[in-house]
């Protein structure tokens, strides 16, 4: 990564425009259904029951010790209404596999950014529907040569039909040689 790339990323990350308003994309991101003739990759919609044991497993894998996330000592987490840790939304983004389409000649991709807006907590016992959609792609010449920057948005809705979070993920794909640099 060049100094310029890094400076760009630093600036981008410190833009003072985090989404304060929650009136934005939540209601506008539902995928077309019914009579629309739009091809939707079935991998782009994932429905998950949030099981207490899975939440605890995730919390422990990320070093959490807070009882709100793992339950009290000695409990199995079932009696408590465990809350999902802050980054649990990452596990609900597998629909992006149907969104990201790296260039076939690119042998490497890296996850480069996330933007998340939380609307409601996710709890054990919830059923989350995660719908993924493309937010477009750009072709760039980066420090690793020709690079494709792809963005996808996942909208997470609970069993009551309320949006609990939106997750925008950015990936960059490129081709590397044995130095890790681009093959341009």
């Amino acid at each position: 990564m060049t100094d310029r790339d890094e400076a760009d990323l630093e600036r981008a990350a410190h833009i003072k425009s985090l989404p304060d308003s929650k009136s934005g994309s939540a209601s506008s991101t539902a995928l077309p259904t019914g009579g629309n003739h739009v091809d939707i990759d079935p991998r782009m919609v994932v429905i998950r029951y949030v099981e207490a044991g899975a939440l605890r497993k995730f919390a422990r894998a990320t070093g959490e010790t807070n009882p709100m996330f793992i339950g009290a000592d000695g409990s199995d987490g079932k009696a408590e209404r465990l809350m999902a840790p802050p980054t649990y939304v990452a596990t609900l983004c597998e629909g992006l596999a149907g969104v990201f389409k790296p260039h076939p000649e690119h042998n490497m991709f890296l996850h480069t950014a996330d933007t998340v807006v939380n609307y409601e907590p996710i709890y054990a016992g919830d059923t989350i529907t995660a719908k993924a959609e493309s937010r477009g792609l750009e072709h760039k010449i980066g420090s690793r040569g020709p690079t494709i920057v792809e963005r996808g948005l996942v909208t997470l809705t609970n069993q009551y039909g309320r949006t609990v979070a939106t997750v925008e993920v950015e990936m960059r794909s490129f081709s590397t040689d044995a130095t890790g640099r681009g093959n341009d």
Binding site: L9, K16, A61, T87, A113, V117, N118
Partner: protein, 140 residues
Amino acid sequence: MIEGQTLDGFAQIAQGMNLPPLEVTITRADLVRYAGAADDYVAQHWDQPMMLAAGFEDVVVHGWLGFAHMCRCVTNWAAPTVATIDSYRVRYLRPLYPGRVTCGGIVEEASADKARLALWAQNIAGDKVTIADLVLRPVS
């Protein structure tokens, strides 16, 4: 309150406060554990020969795992009973490899109903590998 201590209430958050840093050693076993818990089996996180052949130093830590530790830096200071994470924007500036990582942050803005934090994680060489803006709201 003394800077760096755990908060008792949202009103204690003030501009310029530094969060108590969190130091973590991320091991290969941690990556395996996270892959299983997150259902994330992307080869960049476990296929060392592939990563070495592509010129990387090692397998890379899942971006979300590194950021989870940055969030722990926040929730250790402002517990979920005090503040809720409203939104965040995170940038992975360079690959994070298994090893020592230090997470920290500073309060950039604070008001009665919102606090905006600038967070960072740096590797053992002192390079910032991840940065984030994160907004906290008081628990209502």
